[in-house]
Symmetry: D4
Subunit: 171 residues, 8 copies
């Protein structure tokens, strides 16, 4: 059994739609998680408390989704040596580029693993978290390999089914 859990933290209630994909993936792989809204700027003590408490209770990794200045992932990483996976969210006019750069450009010594802006990033952060647990939990590893292979088989079948061939004659 999986005797650990993941923490999903997002900076604002408005990020929930974007981060839903991360929760969906974790459920699909039966990874326990806690999902919280905690702002690095508006409730910094709560964030620090949650990180320290989760560490004590055996959390394995954090997924942090935030937009704009997007300091959330970096602040979490300042309190823990556990893996922190950052998901930039597009909530200013700047295409999410502000959030992406703020999350990815951490100083040497305090790494944050960064994923793409928005829902695809949330999904991929969770899948990456699954891959982290696969190193320790053989059943997770085997589900992950099946998941990937099934997707590949479906895509291959669809690719053949939806192929369009034109022989240069009919218009």
């Amino acid at each position: 059994m999986i005797d650990t859990f993941a923490g999903i933290i997002m900076g604002s209630e408005s990020d929930r739609g974007t981060m839903q994909g991360a929760a969906d993936i974790l459920r699909e792989f039966h990874i326990p998680f806690e999902w919280r809204v905690i702002s690095a700027h508006r409730s910094p003590e709560l964030l620090q408390e949650f990180v320290h408490d989760a560490e004590k209770r055996g959390i394995s990794f954090f997924i942090a989704g935030a937009g704009g200045s997007a300091h959330l992932a970096g602040v979490i990483a300042s309190f823990t040596t556990l893996p922190v996976l950052g998901v930039p969210i597009h909530n200013t006019k700047l295409l999410g580029l502000d959030s992406l750069l703020s999350i990815v450009n951490m100083p040497a010594g305090i790494p944050v693993a960064t994923f793409s802006v928005g829902p695809a990033g949330a999904t991929n952060a969770a899948l990456f978290g699954v891959a982290l647990l696969a190193a320790k939990y053989p059943e997770v590893n085997s589900i992950l390999r099946n998941y990937r292979n099934q997707k590949k088989e479906r895509l291959t079948a669809d690719s053949i089914k939806n192929a369009v061939v034109y022989d240069g004659k009919e218009v």
Copy 2:
């Protein structure tokens, strides 16, 4: 009693929606203000006149919101040594980045304090103005601290109430 006032200036009537948040914050903190549409380019003499007159009448700071070339905050700052708070507005295709850079990149000697593009920037400029007055008016200081703490408490309560916990079992 607060024996001073703030000046909100915006370059165009179309900026009113964006700057409303600044006025709302000042009202919430009972800070008197005057809010005017004055274009740095289309009515430069009026701008200069307003700044000099407001200085004589005891204004404490200016909040300037403008888009595109966004020279407004810088031109105000060229006429006064009072704090000028600049709010970039997104009114071209360029994501507000043009306005942000035009406001923030002032030459050494003539500072403009810059906030983020759009409504969040307007709100924060006004909150920053409140913080300026808090240094001189103890009652403003105490309202400001309460305001921040109440927000924090509400966020903390919401964070707990809306927590999602998944134990890895049910789908």
Copy 3:
């Protein structure tokens, strides 16, 4: 007498050259200050401690210079309602734009006043800090106005002295 002080914080020793201009301006205006290297990510507890302690000892404002992810100013602002002045520093390949956006795009509720990237930003943040104190200390106000007027007179004199006039005749 000035019975307060400013706090200059920078994220790394390598930012000292950029922030020197802020210290120079404060000295020129006889504003007491403390200048520290404290990383938001590598020594978060020290940062929190310094901010709370400085608040108790009567600090008036913070100037925070940081590059890359540049979370420093935002993290300071999360701990205090005092004015926080942010200076982006150019220490990645991304022109300082990453630091600028990370500092300026704070969420509504937690303002950071942002200045331009690099030494001009440091100088202007300090001059803006002087303007903040000018509201409370009349002697600072009068020095500030003199400072600005003297610069203006010198520039005007130089402008006349260095004028180039060509009458269309000689080559």
Copy 4:
């Protein structure tokens, strides 16, 4: 005879190298000019005075070179209906893009004709100014056409002289 003149204004003494090309072109075409350093932010009254005075003395157009926030051309245009030609200068880390956008994104009603960042922009602004005068002064028009044709002939000759032809045989 040319009974008018051009005004070259730049925001800082450090812009002189960039703007030299504008002066060189005007000299080459025997167009009288005055070339001044006047900052829109640090000496706004001097700028206003120079523009109004030059208008009375019969100036035909302004060339304004500035970097960073680069409000100079826009502020000149706010005081006059004469053509204002803006030259962005690269003096921050932002590739001159900040100056370019600040000069070109003028609000409807107050046009500034913008040229490229740096020396090529200064040269082209001056050549464009020559083209403006060519409408009124036939001798300028004829020198301008000769100038362009001579350049073209030289380039054509050079193109033939420096052609490299490889027949696929020798290495």
Copy 5:
């Protein structure tokens, strides 16, 4: 009477909405013009022909609006020494920045005066064209000054009428 005309050229029929503002301004100032769709890439010979023919018939300046690669203004400028005013149009995903840079970054020797992306740029290019004619046609000059002053008076009246004043008491 005005014995010249302006040429408005745009690269595609889809640019008409953007360029309408240029035609409107010219009509408002009674400046004769011809307005054509001619693509620099799809009908290069027609473009060259139109430019040479218009030059012979006494055209004073060209306004060229184009999007994407936006070579139109530059190609016109390669055929004439008359003033060419370029208007970037936003017709790719790239915010019009591609068109702006393609128009403004002309090589030294072949100037194009560039205006902002979209309708404001079209309006300002036309107003700039009016300013060019004002040098030669005193009646145009006097209409232009009136136009600007009337706008300024209306803005000043509106600024006073729409002023919002809050005294810190009522909510």
Copy 6:
């Protein structure tokens, strides 16, 4: 007769709308083609297989459309020396600039010919493919020249028909 064919590959079913224009052009020129959805990341073996098989069956060129990281064109080019034409697709918030740069910045030695983001790029990639075949198939060459000339004639006719002329009198 055309005894070869083109391969259109796109990374995802959602790219079909964008790539339709490429298929339309090939049909218009009677160029046989196969059009497949094959992801470089999700079904890499299928991609490799398709490329090698198509090479054996006499394919002449590949058109690859992809968004986001957009590795598709580059991966195809790593398996073949045939011409690979890349079409960036806009499917993240980043304006398609991410896809464009990922496709165009191939290392020296493995070229990918890149076209613009979106439908115009797909159309042009196909037209470019037609031009490649025109070198070998005289009938394709003659259809291509007719196609271009007919477009030019229609544009010229439209340009004349839709010309707007204003004589400066009526409003």
Copy 7:
């Protein structure tokens, strides 16, 4: 004992300087590794072979450093479900932004954990890899916590030692 290893792959010999920091960190933590130059585009079969072989030999994660189109990390991730850590390298004029976006914008389903451009990214990718192993190897976990704490203590000591205090009196 650590019975696994890390794979460092870079696209070109010229990336060695940037990736050295990753190797240094792994050595510092006594993590075995293999470090290879394998181009995704110029030797795709070798890459595929190395990934599959390393998987069989018990590799735990890949660190992939690449510049320009930077497809390396994504192509590795297409062949394995193991964690892939991507390091963008700055080897075109585009500030490394091209590499960053090409690495981070992976499609949903195939995650790549991305770090910042250049040496700091290489260092942090390796430290993140150490954190991955810390979940399974308690001795790595304890070394990692010591490493972080020692850095923090040294920074705190330096911060106090290098503090600059100015009391507003001496110049």
Copy 8:
């Protein structure tokens, strides 16, 4: 024998260093070529003449290298249906992004195949030209495949020779 040739055109003598790589590749494959400096803006008639003349003499494709506004490739493409390969050159402050976008964003109907900014782009454009000729000249095809395979073998050998393996023991 190869009874055709390639045309390399660049906008300015200063582009020669960048384009040298294209000439080197063509020589290496024994492809005859003519290499000329012809500016689209400064000598437009010469450009048109060269393109038409080369077409008559049996040219197969054009490689066009240009910086800044970089209209060269597009203007060539407006005169011919032959393949035009565009190489952006970095000669302004804007990282070559201006040239890249100006070359790649051609309107639907007039394709230009674009390669990366600078020398790698020049090399790849020439290699792509070689691939075009390989369709018609079997000997070129066979040299091209050898060229690629030899590079691959050398890289594979180097990859093995330069592998660094660390077993976690020695420091």
